[in-house]
């Protein structure tokens, strides 16, 4: 097992920079998830760690050893690809043992490793099958098995579940989590799915446009986002953002009034320098942080457009008097009958005009 350290790692394709100086420290045995929307550079970053992409600047160290110029095979990593990348003409057993056989690993050791991987992943009965005779989930297991037999210091997963259906994704998510516990290996996992990130990660690295937006434990990112992007990306449904402006400030914080809602004023304690009255800000409220009228800091009248019933919970898609769309989470039993309803804001976040968090 090993640590992985990225110092100011950059990637340029010609004049186009896709990763802008990423600094990430991954501890031994940690499960870190790179998450972000398409094109944010998360897969590129992973491929740079694997050595499948050259790095344009900075330094990558695995187990304390700089690997910038080390061949992919010598980095002590194993990778699970989004497309599984199984050898279609080989059986499961041959897929698992191929790398070891080609490098002259002793047969007894190869057999032992293949058997162990097959047992861990419960694919022992599939060993004679070709990949095309396997289901998506089984293929994914074989792909993971191929990584396990290498006994690497670091596992890299590149969106491994995105080709699976929703149910299988949940199942495999649990299996990967179990695998991490069982192997205790350092794992780096790339996904665009924030649910996967939240459920799997010890720590999440949120990326956007090649920049690291925030690094933190899942609940830290949820509860304490650094900016509007992270706030919106982490949590499902995403946080509501409502335009507002500062109407007063004192030593302990500011008073914010939602745009077009003269009666909805929220007091926000701030330790940083508070912006001047009149400055535009954005108030972020998570769907689950709306309560019944009178319960929270301020009340807000909304008109409900659509209600989504998910069983125990419902989501109300509503609109404020100022025309801002908001999503409100409610217990199914508490869904109002009338379209016009007043809710309270129990907890909110404040962001400046550039989207940075005001704390």
């Amino acid at each position: 097992m090993a640590t992985v350290t990225l110092i100011n790692v950059a990637k340029r394709f010609g004049a186009f920079e896709v990763v802008h100086g990423a600094d990430i420290d991954i501890a031994d045995g940690e499960f870190v998830v790179f998450v972000g929307p398409s094109g944010c550079g998360k897969s590129t970053l992973l491929r740079m760690i694997a050595g499948l992409e050259d790095i344009s600047g900075g330094e990558i160290a695995i187990g304390g050893k700089v690997v910038n110029d080390v061949e992919p095979a010598d980095r002590g990593i194993a990778m699970v690809f989004q497309s599984y990348a199984l050898y279609p003409h080989m059986s499961v057993e041959q897929n698992l043992s191929f790398g070891l056989r080609m490098t002259g690993n002793p047969k007894a050791d190869t057999d032992r490793r293949v058997k162990r991987a097959a047992e861990i992943l419960r694919i022992s009965e599939l060993m004679d099958r070709r990949p095309r005779k396997l289901s998506g989930g089984q293929r994914q297991r074989v792909a993971i098995g191929r990584a396990i037999v290498r006994e690497p210091q670091v596992f890299l997963f590149d969106e491994p579940l995105s080709n699976l259906d929703a149910e299988l994704r949940v199942q495999m998510r649990v299996e990967i989590s179990r695998l991490h516990k069982e192997l205790g290996a350092t794992m780096i996992y790339v996904t665009h799915d924030q649910t996967e990130a939240m459920t799997l990660a010890d720590r999440i690295v949120v990326l956007r446009g090649g920049h690291v937006e925030q690094i933190g434990r899942p609940l830290d990112l949820y509860e304490n986002p650094d900016n509007i992007f992270v706030a919106g990306f982490v949590g499902s449904p995403k946080m509501n953002f409502i335009k507002a402006h500062i109407v007063g400030r004192d030593a302990r914080g500011v008073v914010v009034e939602l745009a077009g809602e003269k009666k909805t004023r929220i007091r926000q304690p701030l330790t940083d320098a508070a912006p001047e009255p009149g400055r535009k800000v954005i108030v972020g409220v998570r769907p689950e942080h709306f309560g019944d009228a009178g319960e929270g800091d301020a009340d807000l009248a909304v008109a409900i457009d659509v209600v989504e019933h998910l069983g125990g919970t419902s989501f109300l898609y509503a609109r404020t008097a100022n025309g801002e769309d908001v999503v409100i989470q409610r217990d199914a039993a508490k869904v109002p009958d009338t379209p016009a309803v007043t809710v309270s804001i129990r907890k909110s976040y404040l962001f400046d005009e550039k989207g940075l968090r005001l704390r």
Partner: protein, 286 residues
């Protein structure tokens, strides 16, 4: 539905008629002709006349031997060469890829007569560049057109030059359909490029290689242009006469259409038989 089909068939009728007259009928007709003695007037039905002659005809066995010899040596060499060309074309290190692709493919579109004339010049005993090159490295001149072995080699070189690029382009298309991440996975598995080629590229290209081999077998069974134009009608002394040339000689020089048809059907039968054996040998394990 039946009405709609009838309408569709009415639209297809002109094509089907032309297909039947100029495609199906000649195939049937030539088969029937192979059972007739066509050196008499009128032709008469004599099933054993042509087919019986075939079995005992030294010219047929000479042509068959030459054709099979070219097939056995030239087709594997050409496909191996095409594979090398395809690997080179597929290399990310290669600059001016489009130019090479064009250059490799160009022989297919060059006129047969023009390329044969150039080959005759290049391999000419006294003026040819090939003999000059051989001389320059201390090897003796080769009389490519007067001796059987060099003449056969010349035919094989010419056919290989003409079709290797064509096969390389087909193999290249096959190679490019192999997903890149399979190679990346092998690279991470510490598998060398050479082993990747033999253990991943070749097995995954098998269907494409079979396709190229089948096309080449059919083409070689019909080989005509090169022995006709380069080694002057199968010379020296029938040393490069192929089945295609024998068919031509019998059909269009001696006007013995019955025997020519029998030869044509033998060629087709052999091509099918060899192709079936090939497909059976290269079949996917269950």
């Amino acid at each position: 539905m039946r009405n709609r089909n009838a309408t569709a068939y009415r639209f297809l009728t002109p094509y089907l008629l032309i297909f039947a007259i100029f495609w199906v009928w000649p195939i049937i007709s030539s088969f029937l002709i192979s059972f007739q003695a066509t050196r008499t007037v009128p032709w008469r039905f004599a099933p054993g006349f042509n087919w019986g002659r075939l079995i005992g005809d030294p010219a047929f066995f000479n042509a068959l031997k030459n054709t099979l010899l070219i097939l056995v040596i030239q087709v594997p060499v050409m496909i191996a060469l095409a594979m090398v060309m395809a690997v080179l074309l597929n290399s990310p290190l290669l600059k001016a890829r489009g130019l090479y692709r064009f250059a490799f493919f160009a022989p297919v579109v060059v006129g047969e007569v023009a390329y044969s004339a150039v080959f005759r010049l290049m391999f000419s005993l006294d003026f040819g560049i090939v003999n000059k090159l051989l001389n320059s490295i201390g090897l003796p001149k080769v009389d490519w057109f007067s001796n059987v072995t060099p003449a056969m080699a010349l035919i094989m070189i010419a056919v290989t030059w003409r079709w290797a690029g064509y096969n390389a382009i087909i193999l290249l298309a096959g190679m490019q359909s192999i997903p890149e991440d399979v190679y990346e996975a092998a690279t991470l598995d510490r598998v060398s490029k050479l082993k990747q080629f033999f253990h991943i590229t070749l097995p995954l290209l098998k269907p494409v290689i079979v396709f190229c081999a089948v096309l080449s077998i059919i083409g070689t069974m019909q080989l005509f242009t090169e022995p006709f134009l380069i080694t002057e009608r199968g010379g020296p002394g029938g040393g490069t006469e192929t089945l295609g040339l024998l068919l031509y000689r019998q059909g269009f020089r001696s006007l013995n259409f019955g025997y020519a048809s029998a030869v044509a059907y033998t060629m087709a039968g052999l091509a099918i038989a060899i192709t079936l054996v090939q497909l059976w040998l290269m079949r996917e394990p269950k």
